[in-house]
Symmetry: D2
Subunit: 467 residues, 4 copies
């Protein structure tokens, strides 16, 4: 069934039909479409277009169609062009001709915009729970691994010793930003387009504010032309998903590195690693590599959608039909990755000995410079002296902490015997006790903060009349 056949003499060509059909993907919004029809029926009744009897009949019919979807008994017809058509067709079978009154004053343009916003609104809590789940694992690890020291890197070169807990938490905060970004977009999503008609608004006096409340939306869209074409929320969703992908890719990249034989800081559980069809000894971090790879794919979804949006004139154009596949794909990707990453990090084994062994004394060169600063040397000079000490030790083929006091004093007379304390990594870490720093005390405060923000429920369940 098409909703528009009246003036046409020929049917749509078969290949064109297939290209045109959105049913393979938009059926995912079946329940949202039914909700949307229920509130529209309410609106039509209040506007006097449906009698109370017709209204009830339609509601009963929609309830039956919903059950069919919920029980996976709904059967699509070959002639169903999209989910809206399919549901209206089935409704007519269930209720008879009264179903034909439901589409009064609305268009698929405002209908699909509403369905899609509702689908995302209802999906965000699930996505949030996956993100919060991974955060919980990171918090657990941070709590457990509080005693473990590891090298911190910049430019992938050993830089300064840090707490492993601090490192775990460095992956917590980006996820927190992701959760907040997704939460912030609810404000943008929850503006109801329904009632905008095809482009110009409805001729029936439907109270859009009332519809909006019924569906759990916060407000209504302000301009009907904009309402049917606005896909900012789609771009935002894909951008947020893509940025989440980048954060997961960063984490994954680090795990791939840290599970190499050369670093050896972590070992994956067998349940989260894979082998080689050729090389019997291999233990591969496939799930992290896939995470890294899928971050590229996510960015492609964003780019594709935004390229499509660019250049359309205002109001509805069919190009917009390309908006749903990337959103579903992005959600499915994150929903697939996040639990796996969570499981893998929950079960990963740390190797504190290897981590600790990787902290060589030159990593305390900044501490040496800071020591000199505390003795009154200007930092710039202190940095140069410490640099020379590094060079001197390298020339002798020894570590900084083995350089003789004489050599040190040649470099600067202010250096005294206590200089060797500088090279204790544990103390080095403790010294970085500024807020947000790696000192155990600071990390504990950070951890407490992380726990408190992680526990925040970002979403109230949407209360709609049709849940």
């Amino acid at each position: 069934m098409t909703l528009w056949g009246g003036r046409f003499k020929e049917n749509l060509d078969k290949v064109a039909w297939q290209l045109n059909s959105s049913l393979p993907f938009d059926q995912r919004m079946a329940l949202q479409d039914i909700c949307c029809s229920e509130v529209w029926a309410d609106g039509l009744q209040r506007a006097g277009i449906l009698t109370e009897g017709e209204h009830q009949e339609i509601l009963r019919g929609l309830q039956e169609v919903r059950s069919e979807f919920q029980n996976k008994k709904f059967k699509f017809a070959g002639s169903d062009e999209d989910i809206h058509t399919a549901i209206e067709r089935r409704l007519a079978e269930v209720t008879g001709p009264v179903a034909g009154k439901l589409h009064s004053g609305r268009s698929r343009n405002d209908q699909v915009a509403t369905d899609f916003r509702l689908w995302i609104i209802q999906t965000l809590p699930e996505l949030d729970s996956y993100l919060a789940g991974l955060q919980a694992v990171l918090i657990d690890r941070a709590e457990t691994d509080m005693e473990i020291l590891m090298p911190g890197y910049t430019h992938l070169q050993r830089a300064q010793p840090i707490l492993l807990s601090h490192w775990w938490l460095s992956h917590f905060w980006p996820l927190q930003r992701d959760r907040e970004r997704f939460a912030q977009m609810v404000g943008h999503l929850a503006a109801l387009p329904l009632g905008s008609g095809a482009l110009a608004g409805s001729t029936f006096q439907v109270d859009r504010k009332a519809l909006s409340s019924s569906l759990g939306f916060a407000t209504i869209t302000k301009n009907s032309l904009d309402a049917v074409s606005d896909r900012d929320f789609v771009a935002e969703f894909l951008f947020n998903a893509s940025l989440t992908g980048i954060h997961l890719s960063k984490l994954a990249e680090a795990i791939v590195l840290f599970t190499t034989s050369e670093f050896g800081f972590f070992e994956l559980a067998d349940a989260f690693s894979t082998g080689s069809s050729l090389m019997p000894q291999k233990k591969n971090p496939d799930v992290f590599e896939l995470t890294r790879g899928k971050a590229g794919t996510l960015l492609g979804l964003l780019t594709g959608l935004m390229t499509t949006l660019k250049g359309l004139p205002s109001t509805y154009d069919k190009d917009l039909q390309e908006d749903k596949i990337p959103v579903f794909a992005a959600f499915d990707t994150l929903a697939a990755i996040l639990p796996v990453i969570s499981g893998a990090l929950e079960t990963i084994k740390t190797n504190p000995v290897k981590m600790s062994a990787a902290i060589d004394p030159s990593m305390m060169a900044t501490d040496l410079a800071d020591y000199l600063v505390m003795k009154g040397i200007a930092f710039r000079e202190a940095h140069t002296i410490a640099g020379k000490a590094v060079q001197a030790a390298a020339d002798e083929g020894i570590h900084l902490d083995k350089l003789s006091i004489k050599k040190y004093q040649n470099l600067s007379p202010v250096i005294e015997d206590d200089v060797y304390e500088v090279f204790n990594p544990k103390k080095s870490v403790e010294r970085r006790n500024v807020s947000g720093g790696t000192a155990p005390e600071a990390v504990k405060i950070q951890l407490a903060k992380a726990k408190s923000v992680q526990a925040i429920l970002h979403y109230q369940m949407v209360q709609t009349r049709c849940q």
Copy 2:
């Protein structure tokens, strides 16, 4: 001068130096870098690393360097590696060795992250003013053009008559979302990284909250590793800029269409159109075409940056140096486009006769269906009847409003003589009096809302100790 030469035996190769140097672009953050150094000097003084005398000397020196920048008298040296180095080098020339104390406990990693956030925070109000400026023009046009009817389109096919004012306002709301998105990111920007050191935090007990207040930031970053590598705000800025670009491109696409001879709805002022080097009769909408083209370029900036971010391990990697050029380019692009578009729309001439002539009676076919609905026909059947009327009129080569009453009554006996009122476009528009619809009454309410939200100042000027 490099800040890191101590341990190196050879100088950086010349070609490598050029590749490495960020001075050509990061000098744009000179004033922000000075601000940042001033508050850091305060912090070091409070932490006991600088005496009050040293502190004052450094502040005086920084003030002098600032004046040099403000008066465009600052001279870069060939050896300046980046803006931080250049300023510290010059400070040392101005104050002598005390300048060497300023870099105690900080790193260019936390410094550049702070400068960059501050630059964006301070630039957003300017960007907002350009957006608000274009909004003001759209509001003016909507106010002026309230009596003008035009065809509304979907799929670029004539759909239903609308008010030109309604169309102008359909471009207002996307810009409002853009302004709000930029404003929302201030919350993300205003977390201070300073004090995070290279990656692990500072060993000096600097009060980061105090620094944050001094610089006008709302809070401090929570994890030093994350703080030096987080570029979410860069991606957000570019995403927002890119989405703004898409909105401007949509508007531009419409103007390009509506200024064709075929549509002829608008005519550009000479001051905002260009000619052809070959064809003397041409009047080209170049500025709108460039707007459309630059929207592609903006999306490229976003994609490029996000590709770079994807796959870096946590903490600072030099790849991040690629973050500034796209932000400056995106801002400059919008700052170039927005005033031009504003000027062009302010001076554009409307052609109400052409617009009105383009409203053919078939555009009231929905009204005909709605008329039937009001007579008790189910919409689905009404739609079919209206479709048949369209077909019947087309077969006779006449317009819908010329079809005889007999023909109409053949299609449906409920049709009466009053059917012809349906084809009055002005009444059609008036009928769409739902909130957000195109009826004059609804558009006036919309306009009032637009005015009130446009006037909202999105930014408080950042109050810093160094303005």
Copy 3:
């Protein structure tokens, strides 16, 4: 079945398994994988790893498995990790333990690279036939519409009159470049990776050149590390597909414009247009809008893949598993669009009257300037004079061809009565008789060239031992 279970104590976690599994998409390469196994079995036999009996047994087994796929009787097992595993598992069921010898000296890394190249090589002719099909339609239209004049546009402003045939052919040549680009990549595709093992080459003395010939490849890859990780051909395929998408989008954009009521140059057949669920009079060019939209999606596939490739170290990483979905999606997209566009253009109706009416005399302003040039005026001055004529006509509210001879002679004394011939659009078109120009003579030559290049078969069918 996994091919790598020997050293593992725990099975792969269920969610990780799902993330890891490539079977849902790589099964599309089943026949290629079987081909690849057949030639590998040949190679192992020649290298002495398989006896002739074992070799024959394996070939018989593979033939049986192939039949199962061809007859859609192949049953996947829940434990099949990917298509390679599935086929090897099934082969073992069919042949018994000898199947276990087939994977000697090869890895899924070189196997999948080979399968994938082969799949693309075998798919290109089909893609070419769709492109050539659309070209054939454009040639037909160009041939049929040779007498029709239309306005040519730049900046979407009327510029100069052209032949409709010339316009049709302007969409032919980009497709020709696309076909050539796809054909050129065969040279890049047809280098055989098989025999590269997991990364370092095989220990068995397999003659790779012989394998290459058997599979119809032109050459072998030169470095095993590169061979297993090179995905340049994937990026090239997606780039070519994306550029084809852009060409189709340009064509689609033009059709959308030219089927508006305002232009009215074309009318879509009912079989290739769709209606509105709300507005009974609408006839929408959905298939062209979808084409335009899908061009964005195609670009996203390219961007996604390239982002994934960027930053991987050399040799195989699992991220590469993300390479297949975009290639399949890009092919399916073009295979869906191209026949529909072809059908729609074959059946589109032209409206020569509207086209001709849209050629206003000012479009011959360049001809006026050229007329002056032929009278010895320097072009720059001639352009100015013609510009003034345009202005003078506009001031009088008349067309250029109605401006009195006196007015013309005021502008330039060289102008004579013959000036009015300049405004004949047919003659204007005929004057542009340079190669590649719009004059009928030039277009006929162009058309002949188009026919001859369109007919070139770009692909020899790959001759493999296993077709």
Copy 4:
């Protein structure tokens, strides 16, 4: 000066002018524009539009303008809109009014398309020389490092031992593909648009083939509408540059890894590494990180341009002005990176001891399986046995080569004392003597091939009449 002012009453608004002006970047094509004008003057003379005297005068004038550019004495005027305008303006100052004849029958549309193609054609040899330069370094390294063994990785896990030379060459071949891709596009570039006019071809009988030969082009474009709007070559250039960027990024990523303390395979020369402003011991691979980062930026340039191209109707639209900046930026980026990478790899120090130490006996597990295969065990079973051996060794905390013969024979009775030879990495490498494999013999053959293809000159210098 604008070339189009005749019909306009107001000047272009100042902000619009700035937006519109392309002079800041298109002046880079000054010499190409002059060449193009010279051949056009020839064409006009042959077509009878210029007398021989006028022709010579124009050529002399152009030669003078060229000298001014070559000697950096050319002065732009504030009124120059673009490079074409600037040159024509200056030509008129030099030659007087005859200059006004030069633009007869051409348009900036065909002119800029020609200039731009010519610029790329003339720039490709320089780009090729940078790529060939890096290849030469890789060849040198491969030659020098022929004796050095290193671990080969897949999934960043140690996989099998390889020759360092083999690894160097694995980065040679992608660059070879890049060079070939750039060379292949010359065929696409060298089709001359000149003579296509603004869109419809020229009215003057200019012999385009002759122009094409004069400018060193191979052929002429076939359709004037396509000729002025075709930017496929721009997309191709950016795609090729972006793929080159990806190859360099892969190499850079590997160098960053291999210069970590943990891997320690390479040490950068001081001349190609940088230090830290805070941490005196740091030696950072900045130039490789920037290479990695800039690969993202290059992809952004491609995406941006393709987004802009998508959706334009045929023929020239001003959006196309966005095509030049990304091409110049992409070239400059590669021209900056390639020499630096070449220098850095030329001077990098290898650490054969560390590489060799990283080859642990488990990396010969495949060799153990292959050993079993040679003893007649089916590979699948051999793989399982080898996997169990790996597990057994791990359980004992020993390496594979320390597992007792008894243990081995428990796993499989076919194992004999000669099994221990399997664990010699040098022999392992030698065994992979298939074409393209890592055996020294195979690598030498590969190296010879690399040398011979590297030496191929990809470009004939373009012979134009105006060099």
